[in-house]
């Protein structure tokens, strides 16, 4: 469920960020004085990390005096493997990592990789919905950093905006015309659960999951592209190979602003929201600095800054930020579908194999 490189936005905004890079590199290049407090923070590489270096880290250093060293992490799952091996070897490349919720739960189950956070030192986390503060047996191990929606998209030149996800099942309109994600945990099952079943509760039993996957199978004649990389879907929407499907809300907004025929829609069932959490490495001795950083990113002003500069959806209520309704709509929306993360992990092999069988017709 984790997002990989944000190719699209890196292209769109690389021009705009070039100036800022000079500033960012000057921050990173500053030699650390012995007394200076510092912290290593990992975030998804590319445009994403650059935006952090350019906008978020300098603001944090200005507010607290703590220097931030940026570390590149490719995505969530690969990074978990890296951190697991590094922890076993005794030295880790970063203090804070950015994990998607499913990877964080996986790390928690692997054990010994993440330290609990001192929530007393993170008072501003109270701005976040309790859902975004994840606790396991050892205590609170992850606080939400930022989030994104994978939304319903259509080509407005070809079809009118559907009111419900159920419209995608209509072959008279969408035969061989949709682009959906091929990964079993890319939240199509959550959409189906919200549209036709009882939502997350349907994931509780294997029969429920089978019913979800059978419903997904009915979509197969309408799917022209089962995409694995974000760029495949982007190209297919631009080329008209597909006229609708599932894609990232924020990137779709940027494409639309560039004049491409794409419209991102919140149908009546809503769109799935995924988010990344800050997690502290078990080998880090920078717990206090990490807490200050997490506290900083939990503030409404920082959440608004990230929405404007990185295009992520804020984890705090829009009303406490100074985002305009237009700014908020370009990164977020409602209603929200919350993915059944635990079920995807508890029944990992079952869901993956059943999903693959559905796709393969085997």
């Amino acid at each position: 469920m984790s997002r990989h490189l944000m190719n699209r936005r890196s292209l769109l905004k690389s021009g705009a960020s070039a100036g800022g890079l000079a500033l960012a590199s000057s921050v990173i290049g500053t030699p650390l004085i012995a007394q200076t407090r510092s912290l290593k923070v990992a975030s998804y590489g590319g445009y994403f990390e650059n935006s952090f270096k350019e906008h978020v880290f300098p603001a944090f250093t200005a507010a607290t005096g703590i220097e931030v060293e940026s570390v590149t992490q490719p995505n969530s799952t690969d990074w978990l493997v890296t951190m697991q091996q590094a922890t076993a070897a005794g030295t880790v490349p970063t203090d804070l990592s950015l994990y998607a919720r499913d990877t964080m739960i996986k790390a928690s189950r692997l054990g010994g990789l993440i330290s609990p956070l001192d929530m007393a030192a993170i008072p501003d986390a109270s701005n976040l919905d309790g859902y975004f503060i994840f606790e396991d047996g050892t205590g609170p191990i992850g606080v939400g950093a930022l989030s994104w929606f994978s939304a319903m998209v259509i080509n407005p030149n070809e079809v009118s905006a559907p009111a419900s996800w159920a419209d995608f099942w209509d072959s008279s309109v969408y035969e061989s015309s949709l682009g959906l994600s091929k990964n079993y945990n890319s939240q199509l099952l959550d959409i189906i659960a919200a549209t036709f079943f009882e939502g997350e509760a349907t994931f509780a039993t294997e029969d429920g999951i089978v019913a979800l996957i059978e419903k997904a199978a009915e979509l197969k004649p309408n799917v022209a592209l089962w995409w694995t990389a974000e760029s495949q879907m982007e190209q297919s929407m631009k080329n008209g190979d597909v006229i609708g499907g599932q894609y990232y809300h924020d990137v779709a907004q940027l494409m639309a602003a560039d004049g491409f025929p794409i419209q991102s829609i919140f149908p009546k069932e809503g769109n799935p929201q995924d988010y990344g959490s800050w997690c502290l490495s078990s080998l880090s001795d920078k717990g206090a600095e990490a807490a200050e950083f997490i506290n900083f990113t939990s503030q409404p002003s920082t959440q608004a800054l990230m929405s404007r500069m990185i295009g992520t959806a804020p984890l705090v209520d829009a009303s406490v930020t100074d985002l305009t309704p237009e700014e908020f709509a370009s990164v977020s929306g409602s209603p929200v579908i919350r993915p059944a993360y635990e079920a995807y992990l508890d029944k990992e092999t079952f869901i993956k194999e059943s999903w693959d069988r559905m796709l393969a017709g085997a």
Partner: protein, 322 residues
């Protein structure tokens, strides 16, 4: 007497060629280590145990191999999903390699009849095209087959789409998955997958066939022609038997090469028709972190390729002996 003495002398005398400097041994050991260790690691990992919702651990279980043949839910349910992927890997590789060699053969034959200068120009061009990576070639075909920038656009503009719709062929194409209600579509399809795969290995086919065909003695064909054999007869009874082994050899090499192709399949094949190579990557680097099952699939793919090579060797030997 003297003979025995001289033998003894030879045995005791230092034999310079037999002495191996330590460097050679070390280099040999290093190469062996680098070549064999990854193999052994993959085989050992394939017996590992997956932990649901987490990673995996070292173990000795045959569950991953069992899953390959009957699925993870056995014995409650049997699925041949993974065998189906292996089937598609073989299917694409066989058709694409045969197609590539079949089309490269006449080209190369005609090429060897050209002037020296023309031949070297062509060969340089073909060698240069080998530097294009799979990713690059797939990107190219991706554009060529796209709705707004490629072949479907040509169909639309030239009126071929309308013609197909009028004559009813359009519905046939829709049944074959080569059209949506608006226009023809070539992505995703077996057509695009096999086309791209053949294109990918076509230069290799030419380069593999060139030495054999250029060594072909022109006097053989000339003799056959003077004795009254038709060009077809010359091809089937003189040229083809002479180059049979290089033909089979090239096809096999390209077949094994194509068994593991990844980018083409990911981009051009629908998920129902994807291959073991793609599944291996998904298992190892995907969200499940199921390296043991990925390794088991890799081992099966390896064994399959080896079996085909052995089988081909046997068939060639048998036909040689006849």
């Amino acid at each position: 007497m003297t003979a025995v003495d001289s033998t003894k002398a030879e045995m005791t005398a230092p034999v310079p060629q037999m002495r191996r400097p330590w460097g050679t041994w070390a280099l040999g050991a290093l190469i062996l280590f680098l070549a064999v260790t990854p193999f052994i690691l993959v085989i050992v990992i394939s017996f590992g145990q997956k932990i649901e919702g987490a990673g995996w651990e070292w173990d000795f279980t045959l569950a991953n191999y069992q899953r390959f043949f009957v699925g993870a839910l056995w014995p409650d349910e049997v699925t041949f999903l993974h065998l189906q992927r292996l089937y598609y890997a073989l299917y694409y590789a066989v058709i694409a390699s045969v197609l590539a060699v079949a089309t490269a053969f006449p080209f190369t034959y005609l090429l060897t009849r050209q002037s020296r200068r023309a031949q070297s120009c062509w060969l340089v061009f073909i060698l240069a095209s080998l530097s294009l990576s799979e990713v690059f070639i797939v990107m190219g075909w991706d554009v060529l087959l796209s709705n707004r920038s490629g072949l479907p656009m040509l169909f639309e503009v030239s009126g071929a789409t309308d013609w197909l719709k009028r004559t009813g062929w359009f519905d046939v194409l829709r049944e074959w998955g080569l059209a949506n209600p608006r226009n023809v579509k070539f992505k995703t399809s077996e057509f695009a997958t096999i086309l791209t795969m053949s294109y990918l290995v076509w230069p290799y086919a030419v380069i593999l066939l060139y030495p054999a065909l250029s060594r072909l003695d022109p006097s053989l064909t000339e003799a056959a022609r003077t004795m009254g054999a038709s060009p077809t007869k010359v091809m089937t009874s003189v040229i083809l038997p002479t180059v049979k082994l290089p033909l089979i050899g090239s096809t096999l090499l390209l077949f094994v090469f194509l068994l593991g192709s990844y980018v083409t399949v990911v981009v051009f094949a629908e998920p129902a028709k994807q291959t073991t190579a793609v599944a291996v990557y998904e298992s190892v680097r995907g969200a499940t972190l199921d390296a043991p099952f990925g390794a088991a699939q890799a081992v099966v793919l390896l064994v399959t390729a080896a079996l085909f090579l052995v089988l081909a060797q046997y068939l060639t030997k048998r036909s040689e002996a006849r």
